[in-house]
């Protein structure tokens, strides 16, 4: 799947300009950037729900794509159990409302693989953030995708859940599934991925974290000065201007 010089716009206002993105089987790519930088729009262009006004999106014929939306967009109170939510992915081939034994077996296999087989009868509201994320990954996997897209999969979740989700995605990627996710978490997620795309309306940099998490690229991506330290062989991004002390001193006029 390849995006070439794509420009996407909402109501005539360009949100993504001249963006290139290539995803091959087995890739694991993170799209990083500030709020409003076009991360979700680029993901939707990959998904096909946003059509670029210029440029091209080439998708391999028959490519099966699974999509996991932001958890914040999900109605936690919707009256569905975990099994009902996962089986929603089965929309083709059967018109009867209830699941066939084969479909139930398939759903159970995916839930077991993600370690949430015992939650099938639970309501979404009764789940933790990590469990809920697994439910929606399970729903996407039930479509047997070759490419999995996730929009901010760790937004608002705790550190342990973030680790769990990251490890789960790494395992799925190791089995051959291509994964593309958006994230604003540079240290917790982006630095751990093999390939990053830094986006601020246009692609600022692309490559391994060590190559793109540099002060110069981060400054152009986020519009703020950042330092990059090394810890255990991995880049650690430090927000230089955003420290609370500096902001307070600037507001008091003492900086």
């Amino acid at each position: 799947m390849k995006i070439e010089r794509a420009t996407c716009a909402y109501a005539g206002v360009p949100v993504v300009v001249n963006a290139d993105l290539e995803v091959s089987p087995g890739d694991f790519t993170g799209i990083v950037g500030p709020s409003g930088s076009g991360k979700t729009t680029l993901l939707r262009a990959v998904l096909g729900t946003v059509q670029p006004v210029a440029g091209t999106v080439r998708r391999r014929r028959g490519l099966a794509v699974g999509y996991v939306p932001q958890l914040e967009t999900v109605d936690w109170n919707f009256p569905v159990t975990v099994s009902e939510a996962v089986l929603m992915a089965r929309t083709k081939g059967r018109v009867l409302p209830w699941a066939s034994p084969g479909e139930r077996h398939e759903a159970r296999t995916v839930l077991e693989r993600l370690g949430i087989a015992d939650l099938g009868r639970r309501h979404l509201r009764e789940l933790s953030g990590g469990q809920l994320q697994r439910v929606f990954i399970a729903r996407a996997l039930l479509r047997q995708p070759q490419l999995l897209l996730l929009d901010e999969p760790t937004s608002g979740v705790d550190v342990r859940t973030r680790h769990d989700v990251l490890h789960l995605l790494a395992d799925l990627n190791a089995e051959g599934l291509a994964v593309v996710l958006t994230t604003h978490d540079l240290n917790g997620i982006a630095a751990h991925l093999p390939h990053l795309v830094c986006l601020n309306t246009e692609v600022i940099g692309e490559g391994a974290p060590a190559d793109v998490l540099t002060p110069e690229i981060l400054q152009r991506t986020y519009g703020a000065p950042m330092e990059v330290l090394q810890h255990g062989g991995m880049p650690v991004v430090v927000d230089r201007s955003g420290s609370t002390d500096n902001v307070i001193r600037m507001r008091r006029g003492t900086a």
Binding site: G48, E72, P79, V80, L96
Partner: protein
């Protein structure tokens, strides 16, 4: 016992009670999607818009279902057109267009000297106006809606829960939405004579919200909502005859009592389950 069976000797009551029971079940069925999609105001607005069509049909002597149906469809299209301009929100567009249509209906009824009682019957529902033809219309619409929910169950559920993911998963969400709007408009049209335009919105909301307090499963909620709606229609119509008051008002009041009792028995936790549908999901914190 004779008092209980007495109304059944009248054909209008037999027709009325069948139509009310079917109408209650139909509202319970369609109302599930109306409530879960946060479309209650559209249901309210469409019923008011159709009132204008009902008045125009009466004045120019056109078949009620045809005139009111075309009027309702035109109102829905106009709402869509105004909303697309983006300057006016859909709620405001519904408010302007449907209320104007309702007002036009009142003016037409007044100007052409339609009896006050006939106007009240359209507004609040009446058992007296129900004919054998109405029974067949409501039965056909109920069977059609049930068939649509049965055969499009998965698409309707997925589109209601998560339209974006449903779209990329191969569900034709635009067609599903259009079918739902059509089902809603036709249901309002079919049940209007018994429940009345002013009170239909309540019957689209009360059964599903009551059902929501009783279960966390969509499939069970569907059955419960249809059952509660049908029971309210049956009991409400029966009480309407004995109390000699409007059928729509009695059916809605029975629904309100069922809602109150369910709330009292299932506790505030269940109510919050039902009410939270209008509140966005919380942001998870570490």
């Amino acid at each position: 016992m004779d008092t209980l069976l007495e109304p059944f000797q009248f054909a209008f009551f037999r027709y009325g009670i069948v139509v009310a029971t079917l109408a209650g079940g139909l509202c319970g069925l369609v109302g599930i999607y109306v409530v879960l999609r946060g479309m209650s105001y559209i249901g309210h607005g469409l019923s008011h818009a159709i009132f204008g069509g009902a008045a125009a049909s009466a004045v120019i002597n056109v078949n009620f279902y045809l005139g009111a149906g075309v009027w309702g469809l035109a109102s829905a299209l106009m709402i869509g057109r105004v909303t697309r301009r983006r300057v006016i929100g859909s709620d405001a567009a519904i408010g302007v267009i449907t209320t104007a249509s309702f007002a036009l209906g009142l003016v037409l009824f007044g100007a052409f000297g339609v009896a006050r009682k006939s106007v009240d019957a359209v507004l609040f529902g009446s058992i007296l106006g129900v004919t054998a033809g109405d029974v067949w219309v409501v039965l056909a619409v109920t069977v059609g809606a049930a068939a649509m929910v049965f055969f499009r169950y998965r698409a309707l559920l997925f589109t209601t829960f998560d339209p974006e993911v449903a779209d990329v998963s191969g569900v034709n969400t635009a067609r599903t939405d259009a079918l739902l709007m059509l089902m809603l408009a036709v249901s309002i049209l079919a049940t209007m004579k018994v429940i009345g335009v002013v009170l239909i919105a309540a019957m689209l909301v009360i059964p599903p919200v009551t059902a929501r307090m009783l279960t966390n499963s969509f499939a069970r909620m569907l059955w419960l909502s249809v059952g509660i709606g049908a029971a309210c229609g049956l009991v409400g119509m029966y009480l309407s005859y004995h109390l000699d008051v409007s059928s729509g008002a009695t059916i809605v009041l029975v629904g309100a009592v069922v809602f109150g009792l369910t709330f009292a028995m299932s506790g505030p936790r269940a109510l919050s389950r039902a009410a939270r549908h209008t509140v966005s999901a919380p942001v998870m914190e570490p």
